[in-house]
Symmetry: C3
Subunit: 101 residues, 3 copies
């Protein structure tokens, strides 16, 4: 039977102009893959800054080892991102032991 | 280094005709933003009611304080939604302390 | 007021050629519904095998009872999937007691 391993899933929702930078940063910090989906929505920054913008939103996910998740969240928690239209969260998920991430 | 704060992520999958009502209700209950993605799929209600429908599904997410999540889940748990094509769940996620939600 | 029930959410990201097979298998193992979203991204298998491929990725979700989640994860943890472009994870989520899954 399969056994499950605890890892971490980081989700980021942001403007698509930040996608390439973030994906490169995830890889540099140890992520081995990511998933991206176009989406729409509204957050506090959009209400204030982008009422007339047509910027596309993107939702990024990466499933990584806990230490990589810590590094990504520390990167995203930097002061420079506090005023950007970016939302990030992380939670623990379980993956089959046979899957590498 | 960054510190993380525990908040709640509510996910709702429903027909797009309910999107506007739900997003307004989330805001009224204290949500400061949401993400929406078009999706497809099948649930019990679709099998029964919508075999020939072309209704579009939508997946909504909102990351909120625990008390706001409780209010949203209480709203979605009402009897009136038990017979609607709507699936909702909530889980704890961690966000950078610098991000407001 | 509503009460919440603990269930499990399985997420799978894979090539769309595997979608139909997986959705049928989920149903056979007891899942009562699923959500599918087209997405893009990159993983280790893509880097090695699909650099010039235009295959579409899909992200599948199904919210199920814990024993159904165990069966799905055991299915996905089989040796045959270790070399496929497939990522799967599972976590506990809470749903309104009035929603069946």
């Amino acid at each position: 039977m399969s056994s499950l391993t605890m890892v971490r899933r980081v989700t980021v929702v942001t403007h698509n102009r930040l996608e390439e930078m973030l994906v490169k940063e995830f890889a540099r910090l140890g992520s081995k893959g990511y998933t991206a989906m176009d989406c729409r929505g509204q957050g506090e920054h959009e209400l204030l800054q982008d009422a007339f913008s047509t910027a596309t939103r993107v939702r990024l996910e990466t499933i990584v080892q806990p230490d990589v998740a810590d590094a990504i969240m520390a990167f995203l928690g930097q002061e420079q991102f506090a005023h950007q239209p970016i939302m990030a969260c992380v939670e623990t998920v379980e993956v089959p032991a046979s899957m590498k991430c």
